[in-house]
Symmetry: C2
Subunit: 313 residues, 2 copies
Amino acid sequence: MTDVAAFSFNKLVIFGVGLIGGSLARALRERGETDGARTVIGVGRSPASTARALELGVIDFAAALNDDAALRDALSGADLVLLAAPVAQTQPLLERIAPFLDADTIVTDAGSTKADVVAAARAALGARIGQFVPGHPIAGREASGPDAALPDLYVNRNVVLCPLPENASASVGRIAAMWRATGAVVRDMSPEQHDRVLASVSHLPHVLSFALVEQILESPDAALKFSFAAGGFRDFTRIAASSPEMWRDVCVANRVALLEELDAYTAVLARLRAAIDAADGPALEAVFARSRVARSEWQEHRSASAAPSDASK
Amino acid sequence: MTDVAAFSFNKLVIFGVGLIGGSLARALRERGETDGARTVIGVGRSPASTARALELGVIDFAAALNDDAALRDALSGADLVLLAAPVAQTQPLLERIAPFLDADTIVTDAGSTKADVVAAARAALGARIGQFVPGHPIAGREASGPDAALPDLYVNRNVVLCPLPENASASVGRIAAMWRATGAVVRDMSPEQHDRVLASVSHLPHVLSFALVEQILESPDAALKFSFAAGGFRDFTRIAASSPEMWRDVCVANRVALLEELDAYTAVLARLRAAIDAADGPALEAVFARSRVARSEWQEHRSASAAPSDASK
């Protein structure tokens, strides 16, 4: 286990105790040193999910989102709130939370898109927007739910924070310290830069992977094809087993940046198509060789930082 | 180790002692029972590669492809010959071998495409085409060379044979028995069916994966993007580290079937693009959910047959 800075908190309220929220809770409980009280309350749409998180010891208490009294109790005196739900729920969640939010509670999120989340937070919180520090832990697995949560999911992973002009630097520092306590590396970006980069290296590959499985399903000999699919297909389509709801929201929320990347990708594909059609071996080999070198260098650099092998996104 | 049928041979000559040829040699040496003599001779373009295969004990003797006397000795009395080189080398290799080939030697190959290989073999062998049994072990790793060879690479993997009308059934049976001795499952297909299926589940994903790395490389913020790439990118692009020469040949050799699959894929992608552009969440979620179910079912079915985790293609 890597050395982590000590991080203490009194009460952390997590909206969405699945893979992402559950892994934060487990990391803060099970990793590094903490001092002081550290109560974790889980709030969810699904009573089954929060009950399971309680059962697994991921959270100390569960509250239902539609229960005013429980929500008031949960948020009263909370120092930290994490939203870990599909990004389309950001605005309704913050609107639901706002009436019960203490003035010194810091709220952050784990959404895979940031410009839309910032807009949603501004709409929901108004003058209190300074309490919201936008964030995105770049880690995940295709599995979801509290059973998928891992204490080391964030070790050596990037967590992007997109501080707002209204954020007190102490608030940003506290959220950064929380993520560092999980073993993560915290990096700052603007929401727009974040969305463009993630559209390229995460959102686009997910769409391309879902599309391949869909294309095979639509073909008349789908069963035969699947029966001959091997390791290349396995890895290429692992992310096609990801949460449809989460990825629906990501695609809609980040559609401008995603379409730009998709169009650039389609242009590369059209060039490769022309080279294949012309049986232009040298052109194909040049692209493949360039890609191989870049991919291999990326892997070497990544392996040097020794992240857990099954953590991914 | 799974039970394998005993398989005996006197002299096996492998052209290309890298991952595929080397793994066959190692499997036949190290797995199951063999009786009788079993000499394995490796022939290669690169002296360094055959020397390394000798050093690793993958082969007993090495011969240089451009040495007539060595090639004659190697092929004299050989019962089996495997071609394990990029598919564009099939015809020149067979033309080189033909003058030294005994009448009862059976030749097979491991090429990722089959219609072009059959055409090349007919052109090179003419009336002796019956000695050639086309084959394709569907297994691989992105690593290449004799050091990448594994004795269990073929365990529970599909090996496709595409018997020709000219093949004696005993010849086909002998090649099938050879692959079964490595732990593989042997399945028959026509060359055209093989090429269509593999274009879909193997060749297309390789092109798509190379294309993503290329697209990122061409973007102005490539370094930043790579620095935020995580597990999804890792798995999606693992096959973009594959041999450029091999995949150049596959794309050219199988271009008709590959372009059909690529065009069908591009059509699916265009539909997804329209749904993203229209912020049509339900349409996106429907496709993603369908893909997730199909991918998860495929994984469950595959896991049930317990193949080695790092063997892939």
